[in-house]
Protein backbone atom coordinates (compact mmCIF):
# COMPACT_ATOMS: atom_id res chain seq x y z
CA UNK A 1 0.00 0.00 0.00
CA UNK A 2 1.27 3.48 -0.85
CA UNK A 3 0.16 6.88 0.40
CA UNK A 4 1.34 10.32 -0.63
CA UNK A 5 1.86 13.71 1.01
CA UNK A 6 3.65 16.95 0.25
CA UNK A 7 5.12 16.88 3.71
CA UNK A 8 5.61 13.90 5.99
CA UNK A 9 6.02 14.88 9.65
CA UNK A 10 7.34 12.09 11.87
CA UNK A 11 6.36 12.65 15.50
CA UNK A 12 3.60 14.79 16.98
CA UNK A 13 5.29 16.31 20.03
CA UNK A 14 6.02 20.05 20.22
CA UNK A 15 8.42 20.10 17.24
CA UNK A 16 6.22 17.98 15.00
CA UNK A 17 2.99 19.70 16.01
CA UNK A 18 4.42 23.15 15.27
CA UNK A 19 5.82 21.96 11.93
CA UNK A 20 2.58 20.30 10.85
CA UNK A 21 0.38 23.15 12.03
CA UNK A 22 2.17 25.93 10.17
CA UNK A 23 2.72 23.84 7.03
CA UNK A 24 -0.94 22.83 6.88
CA UNK A 25 -2.11 26.39 7.47
CA UNK A 26 0.16 27.46 4.60
CA UNK A 27 -1.78 25.10 2.35
CA UNK A 28 0.61 22.15 2.25
CA UNK A 29 -0.67 18.60 2.16
CA UNK A 30 0.63 17.28 5.48
CA UNK A 31 0.66 13.77 6.93
CA UNK A 32 1.67 13.37 10.57
CA UNK A 33 2.70 9.92 11.73
CA UNK A 34 2.93 9.18 15.45
CA UNK A 35 4.13 5.94 17.02
CA UNK A 36 1.82 6.25 20.01
CA UNK A 37 -1.95 6.39 20.22
CA UNK A 38 -4.26 9.37 20.51
CA UNK A 39 -5.55 9.82 24.05
CA UNK A 40 -7.92 12.63 24.98
CA UNK A 41 -6.34 15.11 27.37
CA UNK A 42 -8.64 13.98 30.18
CA UNK A 43 -8.19 10.25 29.58
CA UNK A 44 -6.11 9.89 32.77
CA UNK A 45 -5.11 12.16 35.66
CA UNK A 46 -1.69 13.78 35.32
CA UNK A 47 1.22 11.75 36.75
CA UNK A 48 -1.07 8.75 37.42
CA UNK A 49 -0.40 5.09 36.78
CA UNK A 50 -3.02 5.14 34.01
CA UNK A 51 -1.28 8.06 32.33
CA UNK A 52 2.03 6.23 32.45
CA UNK A 53 0.43 3.20 30.79
CA UNK A 54 -1.20 5.27 28.10
CA UNK A 55 1.27 7.99 27.25
CA UNK A 56 4.80 7.06 28.36
CA UNK A 57 7.20 4.98 26.30
CA UNK A 58 7.70 1.65 28.10
CA UNK A 59 5.61 2.92 31.01
CA UNK A 60 8.43 5.33 31.89
CA UNK A 61 11.03 2.63 32.44
CA UNK A 62 13.87 3.69 30.16
CA UNK A 63 17.40 3.99 31.49
CA UNK A 64 20.79 5.06 30.21
CA UNK A 65 23.91 2.99 30.68
CA UNK A 66 26.93 4.51 32.40
CA UNK A 67 28.43 4.75 35.86
CA UNK A 68 25.02 5.87 37.10
CA UNK A 69 21.89 4.72 35.30
CA UNK A 70 19.64 7.67 34.55
CA UNK A 71 15.93 7.00 34.15
CA UNK A 72 14.56 9.03 31.27
CA UNK A 73 10.96 9.63 30.31
CA UNK A 74 9.62 9.97 26.80
CA UNK A 75 6.07 10.64 25.69
CA UNK A 76 4.74 8.09 23.23
CA UNK A 77 1.33 9.40 22.23
CA UNK A 78 -0.18 12.13 20.08
CA UNK A 79 1.33 15.30 21.52
CA UNK A 80 4.49 13.57 22.74
CA UNK A 81 6.26 15.01 25.77
CA UNK A 82 3.84 17.93 26.04
CA UNK A 83 1.20 15.50 27.29
CA UNK A 84 3.22 14.25 30.26
CA UNK A 85 5.67 16.91 31.41
CA UNK A 86 5.18 19.65 33.99
CA UNK A 87 4.36 22.11 31.17
CA UNK A 88 6.74 24.72 32.55
CA UNK A 89 7.66 27.47 30.09
CA UNK A 90 10.87 29.47 29.87
CA UNK A 91 12.69 31.57 27.39
CA UNK A 92 16.38 30.65 27.63
CA UNK A 93 18.83 33.35 28.65
CA UNK A 94 20.04 35.53 25.77
CA UNK A 95 23.59 34.49 26.63
CA UNK A 96 22.67 30.81 26.16
CA UNK A 97 21.30 31.43 22.67
CA UNK A 98 24.34 33.53 21.76
CA UNK A 99 26.61 30.71 22.93
CA UNK A 100 24.73 28.23 20.75
CA UNK A 101 25.19 30.52 17.74
CA UNK A 102 28.93 30.75 18.32
CA UNK A 103 29.39 27.10 19.22
CA UNK A 104 28.18 25.63 15.92
CA UNK A 105 27.94 28.73 13.69
CA UNK A 106 24.15 28.98 13.37
CA UNK A 107 23.03 31.56 10.80
CA UNK A 108 20.32 34.08 11.60
CA UNK A 109 19.99 32.88 15.15
CA UNK A 110 20.02 34.64 18.47
CA UNK A 111 17.88 36.27 21.11
CA UNK A 112 16.59 39.05 18.83
CA UNK A 113 15.71 36.85 15.88
CA UNK A 114 13.96 34.31 18.14
CA UNK A 115 11.91 36.84 20.12
CA UNK A 116 8.95 36.90 17.69
CA UNK A 117 8.84 33.12 17.73
CA UNK A 118 8.75 32.98 21.52
CA UNK A 119 6.01 35.62 21.51
CA UNK A 120 3.97 33.56 19.05
CA UNK A 121 4.44 30.43 21.15
CA UNK A 122 3.30 32.25 24.28
CA UNK A 123 0.19 33.43 22.47
CA UNK A 124 -0.71 30.31 20.48
CA UNK A 125 0.01 27.72 23.17
CA UNK A 126 -1.55 29.65 26.07
CA UNK A 127 1.39 30.30 28.35
CA UNK A 128 0.01 31.68 31.61
CA UNK A 129 0.89 32.49 35.19
CA UNK A 130 -1.37 31.47 38.05
CA UNK A 131 -4.16 34.05 38.32
CA UNK A 132 -4.67 33.89 42.10
CA UNK A 133 -1.27 33.28 43.67
CA UNK A 134 0.62 30.10 44.39
CA UNK A 135 0.01 27.01 46.52
CA UNK A 136 1.52 26.03 49.87
CA UNK A 137 4.53 24.10 48.55
CA UNK A 138 5.57 27.05 46.40
CA UNK A 139 5.01 29.41 49.32
CA UNK A 140 7.27 27.22 51.44
CA UNK A 141 10.00 27.31 48.77
CA UNK A 142 9.68 31.10 48.66
CA UNK A 143 9.94 31.30 52.43
CA UNK A 144 13.04 29.13 52.62
CA UNK A 145 14.72 31.01 49.80
CA UNK A 146 13.82 34.28 51.48
CA UNK A 147 15.51 33.11 54.69
CA UNK A 148 18.63 32.33 52.66
CA UNK A 149 18.49 35.62 50.75
CA UNK A 150 17.90 33.86 47.42
CA UNK A 151 15.49 34.81 44.65
CA UNK A 152 12.63 32.66 43.39
CA UNK A 153 10.21 33.03 40.53
CA UNK A 154 6.90 31.55 39.50
CA UNK A 155 7.38 29.76 36.19
CA UNK A 156 4.61 30.20 33.64
CA UNK A 157 3.04 27.07 32.20
CA UNK A 158 1.37 25.89 29.03
CA UNK A 159 -1.87 26.01 30.95
CA UNK A 160 -5.33 27.54 31.03
CA UNK A 161 -6.68 28.62 34.38
CA UNK A 162 -10.07 29.65 33.01
CA UNK A 163 -13.12 28.82 35.08
CA UNK A 164 -14.71 29.83 38.32
CA UNK A 165 -12.78 30.17 41.55
CA UNK A 166 -9.11 30.37 42.49
CA UNK A 167 -8.44 26.66 41.84
CA UNK A 168 -9.97 26.61 38.35
CA UNK A 169 -8.05 24.49 35.90
CA UNK A 170 -5.19 23.68 38.27
CA UNK A 171 -5.41 19.97 37.54
CA UNK A 172 -7.12 20.01 34.17
CA UNK A 173 -5.92 23.06 32.25
CA UNK A 174 -2.92 21.55 30.43
CA UNK A 175 -2.52 23.10 26.99
CA UNK A 176 -0.55 20.35 25.33
CA UNK A 177 -0.13 19.78 21.62
CA UNK A 178 -3.19 17.51 21.45
CA UNK A 179 -5.43 20.44 22.37
CA UNK A 180 -3.56 23.33 20.71
CA UNK A 181 -1.45 22.88 17.58
CA UNK A 182 -2.57 19.40 16.50
CA UNK A 183 -6.26 20.40 16.26
CA UNK A 184 -5.20 23.49 14.31
CA UNK A 185 -3.20 21.32 11.93
CA UNK A 186 -6.15 18.97 11.45
CA UNK A 187 -8.55 21.86 10.91
CA UNK A 188 -6.22 23.11 8.17
CA UNK A 189 -6.39 19.74 6.43
CA UNK A 190 -3.46 17.80 7.88
CA UNK A 191 -3.92 14.06 8.27
CA UNK A 192 -2.87 12.25 11.46
CA UNK A 193 -1.84 8.62 11.56
CA UNK A 194 -1.38 7.45 15.16
CA UNK A 195 0.06 4.05 16.15
CA UNK A 196 2.33 4.27 13.14
CA UNK A 197 6.01 3.45 13.52
CA UNK A 198 8.53 4.48 10.88
CA UNK A 199 10.76 1.58 9.94
CA UNK A 200 13.15 3.60 7.77
CA UNK A 201 13.38 6.56 5.45
CA UNK A 202 13.58 5.98 1.69
CA UNK A 203 16.40 7.72 -0.12
CA UNK A 204 17.45 8.41 -3.70
CA UNK A 205 20.81 10.18 -3.65
CA UNK A 206 20.41 13.49 -1.86
CA UNK A 207 16.64 13.26 -1.88
CA UNK A 208 14.41 11.50 0.59
CA UNK A 209 11.46 10.02 -1.24
CA UNK A 210 9.40 8.95 1.75
CA UNK A 211 9.32 6.30 4.43
CA UNK A 212 8.28 2.74 5.12
CA UNK A 213 5.98 2.59 8.12
CA UNK A 214 4.15 -0.03 10.11
CA UNK A 215 0.66 0.94 11.14
CA UNK A 216 -1.80 -0.59 13.59
CA UNK A 217 -5.14 -1.53 12.01
CA UNK A 218 -8.62 -1.47 13.50
CA UNK A 219 -8.50 -5.27 13.58
CA UNK A 220 -5.41 -5.23 15.76
CA UNK A 221 -2.97 -6.21 13.01
CA UNK A 222 0.09 -4.34 11.76
CA UNK A 223 0.34 -3.34 8.11
CA UNK A 224 3.31 -2.04 6.17
CA UNK A 225 2.72 1.13 4.18
CA UNK A 226 5.02 3.13 1.95
CA UNK A 227 4.54 6.87 2.23
CA UNK A 228 5.85 8.98 -0.63
CA UNK A 229 6.63 12.57 0.28
CA UNK A 230 8.32 15.59 -1.26
CA UNK A 231 9.83 16.65 2.05
CA UNK A 232 10.26 14.93 5.39
CA UNK A 233 10.57 16.43 8.87
CA UNK A 234 11.72 14.10 11.62
CA UNK A 235 10.49 15.35 15.01
CA UNK A 236 10.57 12.22 17.16
CA UNK A 237 12.59 13.55 20.07
CA UNK A 238 16.22 13.44 21.10
CA UNK A 239 16.42 9.64 21.34
CA UNK A 240 14.08 8.43 18.59
CA UNK A 241 15.09 10.99 15.94
CA UNK A 242 18.76 9.96 15.81
CA UNK A 243 17.74 6.29 15.95
CA UNK A 244 15.61 6.69 12.83
CA UNK A 245 18.28 8.70 11.04
CA UNK A 246 20.98 6.17 11.85
CA UNK A 247 18.96 3.15 10.74
CA UNK A 248 18.22 5.04 7.52
CA UNK A 249 21.93 5.51 6.86
CA UNK A 250 22.54 9.04 8.21
CA UNK A 251 25.31 8.82 10.75
CA UNK A 252 27.43 11.98 10.43
CA UNK A 253 27.33 13.54 13.93
CA UNK A 254 24.01 11.78 14.53
CA UNK A 255 23.41 10.29 17.97
CA UNK A 256 26.88 11.10 19.30
CA UNK A 257 26.24 14.13 21.48
CA UNK A 258 23.08 13.54 23.51
CA UNK A 259 22.86 15.82 26.54
CA UNK A 260 20.38 16.03 29.38
CA UNK A 261 19.52 17.65 32.69
CA UNK A 262 20.26 15.13 35.45
CA UNK A 263 17.84 15.49 38.35
CA UNK A 264 17.74 14.07 41.86
CA UNK A 265 14.73 14.23 44.13
CA UNK A 266 14.46 14.16 47.88
CA UNK A 267 11.51 14.34 50.23
CA UNK A 268 11.32 16.76 53.13
CA UNK A 269 9.09 16.53 56.16
CA UNK A 270 7.80 19.64 57.93
CA UNK A 271 6.06 20.40 61.19
CA UNK A 272 2.98 21.79 59.50
CA UNK A 273 0.90 20.80 56.48
CA UNK A 274 2.45 22.02 53.22
CA UNK A 275 1.36 19.47 50.63
CA UNK A 276 -1.93 20.06 48.85
CA UNK A 277 -2.14 18.04 45.63
CA UNK A 278 -5.21 19.96 44.50
CA UNK A 279 -2.76 22.70 43.44
CA UNK A 280 -1.16 20.37 40.90
CA UNK A 281 2.50 20.97 40.05
CA UNK A 282 4.13 23.65 42.23
CA UNK A 283 5.45 26.26 39.82
CA UNK A 284 7.95 28.18 41.94
CA UNK A 285 11.66 27.69 41.19
CA UNK A 286 14.76 29.08 42.85
CA UNK A 287 16.27 31.51 40.36
CA UNK A 288 19.40 32.34 42.26
CA UNK A 289 21.69 29.73 40.72
CA UNK A 290 20.47 29.69 37.12
CA UNK A 291 21.71 28.86 34.61
CA UNK A 292 23.21 25.59 35.58
CA UNK A 293 21.29 24.77 38.73
CA UNK A 294 17.54 24.70 39.30
CA UNK A 295 15.75 23.95 42.56
CA UNK A 296 12.03 23.38 42.84
CA UNK A 297 9.19 21.21 44.12
CA UNK A 298 7.36 18.36 42.44
CA UNK A 299 3.83 17.04 42.48
CA UNK A 300 3.76 15.07 45.73
CA UNK A 301 0.91 12.57 45.82
CA UNK A 302 1.22 9.58 48.16
CA UNK A 303 2.31 7.19 45.35
CA UNK A 304 5.02 9.63 44.26
CA UNK A 305 6.16 10.15 47.83
CA UNK A 306 6.46 6.39 48.20
CA UNK A 307 8.52 6.28 45.01
CA UNK A 308 11.04 8.93 46.06
CA UNK A 309 11.41 8.37 49.77
CA UNK A 310 14.03 5.68 49.47
CA UNK A 311 14.33 2.67 51.72
CA UNK A 312 14.64 4.28 55.15
CA UNK A 313 11.36 2.68 56.09
CA UNK A 314 10.87 3.91 59.62
CA UNK A 315 10.98 7.41 58.29
CA UNK A 316 8.97 6.50 55.22
CA UNK A 317 6.01 5.04 57.06
CA UNK A 318 5.70 8.08 59.27
CA UNK A 319 5.94 10.37 56.27
CA UNK A 320 3.30 8.50 54.33
CA UNK A 321 0.86 8.71 57.19
CA UNK A 322 1.57 12.42 57.50
CA UNK A 323 1.86 12.96 53.79
CA UNK A 324 0.42 16.48 53.95
CA UNK A 325 3.53 17.49 55.90
CA UNK A 326 5.86 16.01 53.31
CA UNK A 327 6.84 17.16 49.85
CA UNK A 328 9.12 16.13 46.99
CA UNK A 329 11.81 18.61 45.96
CA UNK A 330 14.31 18.46 43.13
CA UNK A 331 17.73 19.58 42.03
CA UNK A 332 18.28 19.73 38.27
CA UNK A 333 21.62 20.60 36.72
CA UNK A 334 23.02 21.14 33.25
CA UNK A 335 24.78 17.85 32.53
CA UNK A 336 28.26 17.80 31.04
CA UNK A 337 28.36 14.25 29.71
CA UNK A 338 27.85 13.47 26.02
CA UNK A 339 25.79 10.40 25.26
CA UNK A 340 25.72 8.00 22.33
CA UNK A 341 22.51 6.50 20.95
CA UNK A 342 22.67 3.24 19.05
CA UNK A 343 20.23 0.48 18.22
CA UNK A 344 20.67 -2.87 19.93
CA UNK A 345 20.70 -5.50 17.19
CA UNK A 346 17.64 -7.76 16.98
CA UNK A 347 15.70 -6.30 19.92
CA UNK A 348 14.72 -2.99 18.31
CA UNK A 349 15.58 -0.94 21.36
CA UNK A 350 17.94 1.99 21.79
CA UNK A 351 21.13 1.66 23.75
CA UNK A 352 21.75 5.05 25.35
CA UNK A 353 25.18 5.37 26.93
CA UNK A 354 25.81 8.56 28.85
CA UNK A 355 28.25 9.18 31.69
CA UNK A 356 27.23 11.07 34.78
CA UNK A 357 30.52 12.95 35.08
CA UNK A 358 32.43 13.99 38.17
CA UNK A 359 31.44 17.57 37.34
CA UNK A 360 27.77 16.51 37.24
CA UNK A 361 28.06 14.85 40.63
CA UNK A 362 29.73 17.96 42.04
CA UNK A 363 26.92 20.15 40.67
CA UNK A 364 24.26 17.81 42.01
CA UNK A 365 26.04 17.89 45.35
CA UNK A 366 26.12 21.67 45.34
CA UNK A 367 22.44 21.71 44.44
CA UNK A 368 21.57 19.22 47.15
CA UNK A 369 23.43 21.32 49.70
CA UNK A 370 21.59 24.49 48.71
CA UNK A 371 18.23 22.75 48.51
CA UNK A 372 18.75 21.21 51.93
CA UNK A 373 19.78 24.54 53.41
CA UNK A 374 16.64 26.12 51.98
CA UNK A 375 14.39 23.35 53.29
CA UNK A 376 15.88 23.47 56.79
CA UNK A 377 15.50 27.26 56.72
CA UNK A 378 11.84 26.72 55.80
CA UNK A 379 11.34 24.45 58.79
CA UNK A 380 12.06 20.94 57.54
CA UNK A 381 12.53 18.35 60.29
CA UNK A 382 14.24 15.76 58.09
CA UNK A 383 15.19 15.12 54.49
CA UNK A 384 15.27 11.77 52.75
CA UNK A 385 18.65 10.58 51.61
CA UNK A 386 18.98 10.18 47.83
CA UNK A 387 21.71 7.58 48.28
CA UNK A 388 20.58 3.95 48.40
CA UNK A 389 20.33 2.74 51.97
CA UNK A 390 21.25 6.17 53.34
CA UNK A 391 19.79 7.42 56.60
CA UNK A 392 17.52 10.49 56.72
CA UNK A 393 19.33 13.84 56.97
CA UNK A 394 18.52 15.85 60.07
CA UNK A 395 21.40 18.28 60.51
CA UNK A 396 23.42 20.76 58.47
CA UNK A 397 26.55 18.71 59.14
CA UNK A 398 24.96 15.54 57.75
CA UNK A 399 23.81 17.51 54.72
CA UNK A 400 27.26 18.94 54.04
CA UNK A 401 28.94 15.56 54.38
CA UNK A 402 26.51 13.99 51.92
CA UNK A 403 26.69 16.84 49.42
CA UNK A 404 30.50 16.76 49.35
CA UNK A 405 30.67 13.17 48.19
CA UNK A 406 27.65 11.98 46.24
CA UNK A 407 28.52 8.48 45.11
CA UNK A 408 28.49 7.26 41.52
CA UNK A 409 25.93 4.53 40.83
CA UNK A 410 24.06 4.65 44.12
CA UNK A 411 21.40 7.30 43.55
CA UNK A 412 18.15 7.47 41.65
CA UNK A 413 18.85 10.02 38.91
CA UNK A 414 16.20 10.86 36.34
CA UNK A 415 15.41 13.29 33.56
CA UNK A 416 12.73 14.29 31.12
CA UNK A 417 14.93 16.88 29.36
CA UNK A 418 16.98 15.32 26.56
CA UNK A 419 18.48 17.18 23.60
CA UNK A 420 21.48 17.82 21.31
CA UNK A 421 21.67 14.44 19.60
CA UNK A 422 21.46 15.91 16.04
CA UNK A 423 23.03 19.34 16.51
CA UNK A 424 22.40 22.15 14.00
CA UNK A 425 24.73 24.78 12.57
CA UNK A 426 26.91 25.59 9.58
CA UNK A 427 30.02 24.02 11.04
CA UNK A 428 29.68 20.57 9.47
CA UNK A 429 32.55 19.21 11.51
CA UNK A 430 30.43 19.28 14.65
CA UNK A 431 26.84 19.33 13.38
CA UNK A 432 24.46 16.92 11.68
CA UNK A 433 22.05 19.50 10.25
CA UNK A 434 22.34 23.02 8.88
CA UNK A 435 21.18 26.24 10.55
CA UNK A 436 17.52 25.46 9.83
CA UNK A 437 17.53 21.75 10.53
CA UNK A 438 18.20 20.32 7.05
CA UNK A 439 20.30 17.18 7.47
CA UNK A 440 23.71 17.62 5.85
CA UNK A 441 24.04 15.84 2.52
CA UNK A 442 20.32 15.91 1.78
CA UNK A 443 18.02 18.28 -0.09
CA UNK A 444 14.75 17.64 1.70
CA UNK A 445 15.25 15.86 5.04
CA UNK A 446 14.82 18.04 8.11
CA UNK A 447 14.97 17.59 11.87
CA UNK A 448 12.83 19.89 14.01
CA UNK A 449 12.92 18.97 17.69
CA UNK A 450 15.17 19.20 20.75
CA UNK A 451 17.75 17.07 18.95
CA UNK A 452 18.86 20.23 17.13
CA UNK A 453 19.97 22.15 20.20
CA UNK A 454 23.76 22.57 20.12
CA UNK A 455 23.78 22.39 23.92
CA UNK A 456 21.54 22.62 26.95
CA UNK A 457 18.97 25.43 27.06
CA UNK A 458 19.56 25.38 30.84
CA UNK A 459 15.79 25.61 31.39
CA UNK A 460 12.73 23.41 30.76
CA UNK A 461 13.10 22.98 27.00
CA UNK A 462 9.56 22.83 25.57
CA UNK A 463 9.28 26.57 24.91
CA UNK A 464 12.60 26.58 23.07
CA UNK A 465 11.65 23.51 21.03
CA UNK A 466 8.49 25.27 19.88
CA UNK A 467 10.21 28.58 19.08
CA UNK A 468 13.08 26.97 17.16
CA UNK A 469 10.64 24.68 15.33
CA UNK A 470 8.53 27.69 14.36
CA UNK A 471 11.61 29.50 13.07
CA UNK A 472 12.71 26.50 11.01
CA UNK A 473 9.37 25.62 9.45
CA UNK A 474 8.70 29.25 8.48
CA UNK A 475 12.13 29.27 6.79
CA UNK A 476 11.20 26.08 4.93
CA UNK A 477 7.88 27.62 3.85
CA UNK A 478 9.80 30.61 2.51
Amino acid sequence: MTERADLLVIGSGPGGAMTACLAAEAGRDVLIVEEGAFWPIDSAPSFSLAEMDQKYRNGGLNVTFGGTSITYLEGRCVGGGSEINAALYHRPLASTLAEWREQTDIEDFGPDSLTPHFEAVERDCEVNLLPYGNGPASALLQRGAGEMGWSTREIARFWSYEGEGPRAGLLTGRRSMSVTLIPRALAAGARLSPQTRVIRLLRNGRRITGAVVERGTAEGHRERVTIEARDVFVCAGAVQTPRLLRRSGFTHNVGNSLQLHPMIRITARFREDMNDTSWGVPTEQVDQFKPGLTLGCSYSSVPHLALWMGAELGNKRAQLRDWKRTGIFYVAVVGTGLGKIRDIPLVNEPLVRLPLTAADLARLGEGLLRLGQLLFAAGAEALSNPVEGGQPIRTAAELEALARALPQGKMAVSTIHLFSSVPMGQNEAVTAADSHGRVHGTDNLFVNDASLFPASPAVNPQGTVLAVARRNVLHWLG
Partner: protein, 133 residues
Amino acid sequence: MPLSPLPAPVVARLARAVRGIAEAEVAEELDRSDLLGVPGLEETAHVLQSRLLGMPRHFAAGMVALTLAFEAAGPFSELSLDRRRRRLARLRSLPLGPLKNFTTFYDKMAPFIFWSVLEESGELDQVLAGVSR
Protein backbone atom coordinates in the same frame (compact mmCIF):
# COMPACT_ATOMS: atom_id res chain seq x y z
CA MET B 1 8.87 -2.72 22.57
CA PRO B 2 7.40 -5.17 25.07
CA LEU B 3 8.79 -8.65 25.46
CA SER B 4 7.29 -11.12 22.98
CA PRO B 5 4.47 -13.29 24.33
CA LEU B 6 5.82 -15.98 26.69
CA PRO B 7 4.52 -19.57 26.87
CA ALA B 8 1.49 -19.94 29.14
CA PRO B 9 3.25 -22.06 31.82
CA VAL B 10 6.01 -19.47 32.07
CA VAL B 11 3.46 -16.67 32.37
CA ALA B 12 1.65 -18.54 35.14
CA ARG B 13 4.89 -19.13 37.01
CA LEU B 14 5.89 -15.52 36.53
CA ALA B 15 2.51 -14.35 37.83
CA ARG B 16 3.02 -16.38 41.02
CA ALA B 17 6.50 -15.00 41.46
CA VAL B 18 5.48 -11.39 40.93
CA ARG B 19 2.52 -11.78 43.26
CA GLY B 20 4.83 -13.21 45.92
CA ILE B 21 7.23 -10.30 45.59
CA ALA B 22 4.46 -7.70 45.44
CA GLU B 23 2.95 -9.02 48.67
CA ALA B 24 6.33 -8.95 50.38
CA GLU B 25 6.95 -5.37 49.24
CA VAL B 26 3.50 -4.25 50.43
CA ALA B 27 4.05 -6.00 53.77
CA GLU B 28 7.34 -4.12 54.07
CA GLU B 29 5.62 -0.88 53.15
CA LEU B 30 2.95 -1.42 55.81
CA ASP B 31 5.29 -3.21 58.25
CA ARG B 32 2.85 -6.08 58.65
CA SER B 33 3.25 -9.82 58.96
CA ASP B 34 -0.08 -10.50 57.31
CA LEU B 35 -2.07 -8.76 54.64
CA LEU B 36 -5.56 -9.77 55.70
CA GLY B 37 -8.05 -7.17 54.58
CA VAL B 38 -5.51 -5.11 52.66
CA PRO B 39 -7.14 -4.11 49.37
CA GLY B 40 -5.52 -3.74 45.99
CA LEU B 41 -3.04 -6.63 46.17
CA GLU B 42 -4.26 -8.49 43.11
CA GLU B 43 -4.35 -5.33 41.02
CA THR B 44 -0.90 -4.33 42.27
CA ALA B 45 0.59 -7.68 41.23
CA HIS B 46 -1.15 -7.53 37.87
CA VAL B 47 0.09 -4.02 37.08
CA LEU B 48 3.57 -4.85 38.36
CA GLN B 49 3.78 -7.78 35.99
CA SER B 50 2.61 -5.68 33.06
CA ARG B 51 5.27 -3.10 33.96
CA LEU B 52 7.89 -5.84 34.03
CA LEU B 53 6.89 -7.14 30.61
CA GLY B 54 6.55 -3.61 29.23
CA MET B 55 10.13 -2.63 29.98
CA PRO B 56 12.56 -2.38 27.08
CA ARG B 57 13.13 -5.93 25.95
CA HIS B 58 16.82 -6.08 26.83
CA PHE B 59 15.93 -5.21 30.44
CA ALA B 60 12.75 -7.24 30.62
CA ALA B 61 14.42 -10.47 29.52
CA GLY B 62 16.95 -10.33 32.34
CA MET B 63 14.41 -9.23 34.92
CA VAL B 64 11.99 -12.00 34.01
CA ALA B 65 14.79 -14.57 34.23
CA LEU B 66 15.85 -13.28 37.65
CA THR B 67 12.27 -13.21 38.88
CA LEU B 68 11.71 -16.81 37.83
CA ALA B 69 15.00 -17.87 39.40
CA PHE B 70 14.04 -16.09 42.61
CA GLU B 71 10.73 -17.93 42.68
CA ALA B 72 12.42 -21.27 42.08
CA ALA B 73 14.32 -21.00 45.37
CA GLY B 74 11.62 -21.72 47.90
CA PRO B 75 9.28 -21.39 46.06
CA PHE B 76 9.40 -17.79 47.18
CA SER B 77 5.68 -17.12 46.80
CA GLU B 78 4.88 -19.96 49.23
CA LEU B 79 7.08 -18.67 52.05
CA SER B 80 5.60 -16.73 54.93
CA LEU B 81 5.54 -12.95 54.49
CA ASP B 82 8.18 -12.49 57.16
CA ARG B 83 10.52 -14.94 55.48
CA ARG B 84 9.92 -13.27 52.13
CA ARG B 85 10.73 -9.87 53.62
CA ARG B 86 13.94 -11.22 55.16
CA ARG B 87 14.96 -12.82 51.88
CA LEU B 88 14.42 -9.56 49.99
CA ALA B 89 16.38 -7.69 52.66
CA ARG B 90 19.32 -10.08 52.23
CA LEU B 91 19.18 -9.56 48.48
CA ARG B 92 19.27 -5.78 48.91
CA SER B 93 22.49 -6.03 50.84
CA LEU B 94 24.34 -7.86 48.05
CA PRO B 95 26.51 -5.60 45.91
CA LEU B 96 25.92 -7.43 42.60
CA GLY B 97 24.72 -5.15 39.80
CA PRO B 98 21.94 -7.25 38.25
CA LEU B 99 20.54 -8.11 41.68
CA LYS B 100 20.61 -4.45 42.62
CA ASN B 101 18.58 -3.62 39.50
CA PHE B 102 16.19 -6.41 40.43
CA THR B 103 15.55 -5.17 43.98
CA THR B 104 15.48 -1.52 42.93
CA PHE B 105 12.78 -2.26 40.37
CA TYR B 106 10.54 -4.05 42.85
CA ASP B 107 11.35 -1.75 45.80
CA LYS B 108 10.39 1.31 43.75
CA MET B 109 7.60 0.08 41.53
CA ALA B 110 5.62 -2.13 43.90
CA PRO B 111 4.94 0.63 46.48
CA PHE B 112 4.25 3.19 43.73
CA ILE B 113 1.76 0.89 42.06
CA PHE B 114 0.16 -0.21 45.35
CA TRP B 115 -0.53 3.35 46.52
CA SER B 116 -1.63 4.35 43.00
CA VAL B 117 -4.14 1.50 42.91
CA LEU B 118 -5.51 2.55 46.31
CA GLU B 119 -5.64 6.20 45.29
CA GLU B 120 -7.64 5.26 42.22
CA SER B 121 -10.04 3.03 44.15
CA GLY B 122 -10.55 5.59 46.92
CA GLU B 123 -9.12 3.27 49.59
CA LEU B 124 -5.90 5.15 50.22
CA ASP B 125 -6.94 6.99 53.38
CA GLN B 126 -8.33 3.83 54.91
CA VAL B 127 -5.06 1.95 54.42
CA LEU B 128 -2.93 4.92 55.45
CA ALA B 129 -4.87 5.13 58.70
CA GLY B 130 -3.76 1.58 59.44
CA VAL B 131 -0.08 2.22 58.78
CA SER B 132 1.86 1.64 61.97
CA ARG B 133 4.04 4.43 63.28
